[in-house]
């Protein structure tokens, strides 16, 4: 029975049931439980299916949002998932980690007056992807006959997985090189289990392998093979670099190398990838802080703070230079952190970490800031207030103020063009200055989101396809790949 617009407008947004804060801040299970099919249908009915579809333009990979939501309203959940997958290969991931309020939901007509009343697009995306996976309804697409071209993808994070998925479906032979012993990049080492269960990432990677993507783990490109070797020795026709951001930044203040001071990358990698939260079954140790200070206001800072709480901290404080509204973290994460009793010291910046004689952190001295004139990004610039210092105790400091480019590949590929920060320069389609070498994700943009990295991967896959097909037309045969055919496994 078709609902009228008025009836649709009358339905309130369905929140997703969650573990209560007092329970979840001591376990690593996922926070939201997910929709029931009834809730999903009711939420889907709120969509007005507007003509100009602002949500689609708000999505970096242009998922046909009203179409998949309409299918949910008809209870065609698996079909809905397949519609999403025409544009987004990782819906179970994106439904959980995309900053929807700044993308699709941010421009939803239903949220115009009150953003919290936008259609819960992220929740719905998550629901259908979970439904499809949990009911074993995932379908492998038809793979065309191999076209004879071989593509190497460096890094199995969101952008690498997207490139691999797109190209394998176009008939390419695709090989992923992953530096770690597990695939997924930031999805496994960075984002905690309580926000993105690792089983989901494993399923996605398994699906790619089922399509014929080869994955070599423990392979640090730049060291094990140089980019040039991938062409000349290994016979690849194109290479995609999606190695992620890289080196953590530490503040240039006294006490940064004290014991108890960690980069958020280290802290999260220990807990997530190495599963230190299951220590000592998993052998990688973790220092458990009692009073933990987290520096930064992004998703990584929220993840670090919430992990510290779950590992047994008594008190966790986020120290951020700017104001609450300016925090780059996803709204839901900051909200969850607050619910989990994480304190926020806003407009504050550390100037020194104190340590004891044994070299362990014991406290922090901060300076208060106020908001001044807007900077280039349009955000009001934080300005230090004179003589406004304050101190507090902390035995652990997690530094989450961003990163710089990892030089492993660029330093071993001397003719690769990088910008002044060391990030790889590309055109809008991911083409670097080197022929048939492409790059995308954080190694091009600096730290950004999962979905923007996937968008970059999607564009690069198109460029690779276009360039290699042109090459194929010109030479009427693949340049190098076919020589190697036959001796692969």
């Amino acid at each position: 029975m078709e609902l009228t617009a008025k009836e649709r407008m009358a339905i309130e947004r369905h929140g997703m049931a969650e573990q209560p804060p007092d329970l979840r801040n001591r376990n690593f299970k996922e926070v939201p439980y997910g929709y029931t099919p009834e809730e999903a249908v009711a939420e889907a009915q709120r969509c007005l299916n507007c003509k100009n579809k602002p949500c689609v333009s708000g999505c970096p990979v242009e998922v046909p949002i009203p179409e998949f939501i309409a299918l949910i309203a008809e209870k065609k959940f698996a079909e809905a998932a397949r519609v999403i997958k025409t544009k987004n290969v990782l819906p179970a991931v994106c439904g959980r980690v995309c900053p929807q309020e700044a993308q699709c939901e941010g421009v939803c007509v239903r949220g115009k007056k009150d953003i919290t009343q936008a259609v819960a697009i992220g929740n719905l995306e998550r629901f259908v992807a979970d439904y499809e996976r949990e009911n074993n309804l995932m379908e492998l697409p038809e793979i065309p006959k191999k076209n004879g071209f071989k593509v190497a993808v460096i890094g199995s994070g969101p952008s690498g997985l997207t490139v691999a998925g797109d190209l394998i479906k176009l008939g390419y032979e695709v090989t992923i090189y992953e530096a770690f012993h597990r695939g997924g990049g930031v999805l496994v080492y960075g984002i905690p289990e309580f926000r993105l269960p690792k089983k989901i990432v494993e399923t996605e990677i398994k699906a790619l392998e089922d399509l014929g993507v080869k994955i070599y783990y423990n392979s640090v490109i730049g060291r094990l093979h140089k980019i040039n070797d991938l062409f000349t020795i290994m016979g690849f026709n194109a290479v995609y670099i999606g190695v992620g951001a890289g080196l953590p930044i530490f503040l240039d203040i006294p006490g940064m190398n004290l014991n108890g001071v960690f980069s958020a990358n280290e802290y999260l990698t220990r807990s997530n990838l190495m599963k230190s939260y299951l220590f000592p079954k998993y052998r990688t140790p973790m220092i458990i802080g009692k009073e933990v200070a987290v520096l930064g206001g992004g998703n990584v800072a929220m993840d670090s703070a919430r992990t510290a709480m779950r590992l047994g901290a008594e008190k966790v404080t986020i120290v951020y230079r700017r104001a609450r509204e300016q925090m780059p973290a996803r709204a839901a994460e900051a909200h969850h952190a607050e619910e989990e009793k994480i304190e926020f010291k806003l407009l504050s910046n550390p100037v020194e970490i104190y340590g004891n004689e044994e070299g362990w952190a014991t406290g922090m001295k901060c300076q208060r800031y106020e908001l001044g004139e807007p900077d280039e990004s349009g955000r009001q610039r934080p300005v230090p207030i004179e003589n406004s210092f304050f101190e507090f105790d902390c035995d652990q400091v997690l530094v989450s103020i961003g990163g710089q480019a990892n030089p492993l590949i660029t330093s071993t590929t001397p003719d690769m063009k990088v910008n002044k920060w060391g990030y790889i320069e590309t055109d809008d389609w991911g083409r670097t200055n080197r022929e048939f070498v492409y790059a995308g994700g954080d190694i091009v943009t600096g730290a950004a989101t999962v979905i923007s990295a996937m968008g970059a991967g999607r564009r690069a896959a198109k460029a690779i396809h276009e360039d290699l097909m042109k090459e194929s037309d010109e030479t009427l045969r693949p340049p190098a790949g076919e020589v190697e055919d036959g001796d692969e496994e």
């Binding site: 014991n259 990698t269 140790p285």
Partner: protein, 284 residues
């Protein structure tokens, strides 16, 4: 992949030859690998002491110091190691310096071998000095002799070479006026610091292979950061070799001790698991 094809033990130092053809092909002197014995293991950085490109193997000498090295050492010939990642780190800078002295202790006795070999091939006069508590603890000697003009020994009990340490040998050489143009040292942090102090008064270029705590080994986490000449460096991507005269040793000792307490917990848990397993076997 990563099958153990040869294994032996010399007083708590375990030699393992592992199948890793791609690593054997790419590795250069001074680089290391990160090893996980099984999927629950820590990632342990280990210097590669030798490799054979034709056979596709690498040789590691593993000092048994904690739970993860212990579990690795318990693996048998024919077992496969879960993960071996590398080569990592910047290769040693090899050129014709003139006379090069290499000092090695503990796992560094094997560790200096590829650097000695590369130095020899580059035309240097190579003097290798190795230290141990007593003579039976030396290993990889034949190979080291083959690439060194001279191999000198130091033992705590005087059972081979001089009674003392590597730095005592170096001091004696320097006092006698032996001209040394470049030095490399590998071993425990105390040894690296003492050797650096021995060469400092003579301003001899001194490279020390640091062994700070590591996690990913690709520069991503900063666990291995050290202060060198007042600057923060990452051992995994900027090192492992640094100027021994500029390293902040005190900070390095502190940072290396960070997990001692947790390691004891892991070790105790391992003992419990072992006892439980033994009991189970007895019951069966």
């Amino acid at each position: 992949m990563y099958e153990i094809i040869e294994k032996s033990e010399i007083f708590n130092v375990h030699k393992m030859v592992i199948t890793a053809p791609e690593i054997a092909h790419s590795i250069r002197a001074g680089q290391f690998v990160i090893v996980m014995g099984n999927e629950y293991s820590e990632r342990i950085p280990l210097t590669v002491s030798d490799w054979n490109t034709d056979a596709g193997t690498i040789t590691l000498y593993i000092l048994e110091v904690g739970i993860s090295t212990l579990e690795l050492a318990r693996m048998k010939i024919g077992d496969s190691i879960y993960a071996v990642t590398g080569p990592l780190g910047v290769p040693s800078e090899i050129k014709n310096y003139g006379t090069v002295v290499l000092g090695g202790g503990c796992y560094g006795i094997g560790g200096i071998y590829p650097i000695a070999k590369a130095c020899k091939e580059a035309g240097n006069k190579v003097i290798s000095i190795i230290e141990a508590r007593y003579s039976a603890m030396f290993y990889h000697e034949k190979e080291l002799h083959a690439v060194s003009d001279q191999v000198l020994y130091a033992t705590s009990d005087g059972s081979k070479g001089i009674r003392g340490k590597v730095e005592d040998v170096i001091r004696e050489m320097l006092e006698k006026g032996v001209k040394i143009d470049h030095t490399f040292f590998m071993g425990c942090t105390q040894m690296l610091e003492r050797c650096s102090e021995a060469t400092r008064p003579y301003a001899i270029p001194t490279k020390v292979a640091l062994n700070s705590i590591m996690l990913d080994g690709t520069g991503m986490c900063g666990a291995c950061r050290v202060s060198v000449g007042g600057q923060t460096k990452f051992t995994c991507v900027d090192g492992p070799e640094f100027d021994g005269h500029k390293v902040d040793w005190k900070e390095l000792y502190t940072r290396k001790s960070a997990y001692v307490e947790r390691e004891t917990v892991a070790y105790q848990s391992y003992s419990h698991e072992c006892m439980a397993e033994t009991r189970l076997q007895q019951e069966l």
